[in-house]
Symmetry: C2
Subunit: 265 residues, 2 copies
């Protein structure tokens, strides 16, 4: 009885069988939603907590001129703020980006979970700190990274997060985000995202298309992005492909700080 919820929290603490059972039991009320369904709208009074079990969603805001900024991608195992209910009105929207399975956790059940299991409580805290870390990393990307660095960094992040919930391996994972969606997340235009993805593809660093991401040269990718996974606070930071990549990155730090090195053809 495992699901994306416990898959994620397991990475943040030593859950025992009882913890896992309770987490699975908490996800009774599951809905399947099509892409484009709003889970939360700006101005709404906050609903109960929900967890993504399958599929992708995002938080976003609309600006007066009609442009959209995505602030968070939510993937399986991600959930909305636990204490959201104390607020009077939501200040942003959450919409599904693909067909999505969502579990709704009544406030009472949430409360019981937290009071009964300190391990789970700690895992919630941890998850919340990771989410904040991701948000901070986005600020850094938008503020100080070029388009190619931004795209690379986001792909590194999403790959690692997918891997941490068991949805990626061998430098490959599903990535059903359109270039328009990526543009709204990266603060770029779709046209420029396209050009940037093309550049990374031609350099043999990664491939992105038809719903899949493939990282072809992790070390080079991490170097371009200036990617350091520390903000994801992986408790079990084993020597996966990307850890190796980061070690290599250190070794090649002497090279030019930006720009691509030619593909090793």
């Amino acid at each position: 009885m495992t699901n994306a919820f416990s898959d994620r929290l397991r990475g943040y603490g030593r859950l025992n069988d009882e913890d896992e059972r309770l987490l699975a039991a908490a996800c009774q009320n599951v809905r399947t939603l099509r892409a484009g369904h709003h889970l939360i709208r700006e101005g709404d009074r906050p609903d109960p907590v929900f967890v993504i079990l399958e599929g992708w969603a995002c938080r976003y805001k609309l600006l007066p001129d009609g442009s959209r900024q995505i602030m968070t991608f939510m993937m399986p195992g991600d959930f909305c703020d636990i204490h959201i209910a104390v607020l009077e009105a939501m200040d942003h929207n959450i919409v599904t980006l693909t067909r999505t399975k969502v579990a709704t956790l009544p406030r009472a059940k949430m409360q019981a979970l937290v009071e009964a299991r300190p391990t789970i409580t700690r895992a919630f805290w941890w998850a919340q700190l990771v989410d904040t870390g991701v948000l901070r990393a986005w600020v850094v990307s938008m503020g100080r990274r070029t388009a190619i660095e931004r795209v690379s960094h986001l792909m590194c992040e999403l790959y690692i997060r997918m891997r941490d919930v068991g949805l990626a391996s061998h430098n490959r994972c599903e990535m059903p985000l359109t270039q328009l969606v990526l543009a709204d997340a990266l603060g770029l235009t779709p046209v420029h995202v396209n050009r940037t993805v093309k550049e990374l593809r031609q350099a043999g660093v990664m491939d992105l298309g038809r719903g899949w991401l493939t990282i072809l040269r992790p070390a080079e990718m991490a170097r371009i992005a200036g990617f350091d996974a520390n903000y994801l606070h992986q408790r079990l930071a084993g020597p996966g492909k990307f850890a190796v990549a980061l070690a290599e990155r250190t070794a090649t730090a002497g090279r030019a700080a930006r720009g691509l090195t030619p593909a090793p053809q």
Copy 2:
């Protein structure tokens, strides 16, 4: 016995005298630090929770090429994540920007506070949700706002946050941030921040310099920024100057979406 800590939390819940007393008592261990003192460094094991009582600090990250991105400004009443201790290493730095008074709260005291007073617990949750909202608003600014919109939006935010802890009134407050610091927060260069501040000054919208911010035409300022204070979740959203400004903004929404309107003589 009031301080910036209770001043802030009071805005998020109905604290009674006992709550206020406990909060004040929790701030026994106070240090005064000069500008440039690091409260936290990347890689550190997290320390106890701290609260800013006077002065300013910021969270930031350094990039491989040496550039800096500030992710949060911390003003009196702001504190670091309450559950930070569950993490193994900090993923960013926190440094004071001015002479600063900081109170350190031992973990046990924190724990006692939360367990004894549900009102305070709720206020903590609320404060954390506001901090996250601010972070999301920054992502929006960096992603989709021009320089003049970004500067205006940040100044609106900082003014309101200062007012909410009783440190601003009559559209004026202390603002000891240099243009270099602002540039690192806004994802711009100091040169461009200077040009942008000049433009706003010449338009008679605001003045910023010598350590002070003055908002001369709040309605126009809010219009340029596309500022909506909802993400700050002010519980006591009385009709202050800025609420009025926002009402006016709605009334003038028909005008050109961007750009300045001429100063009214």
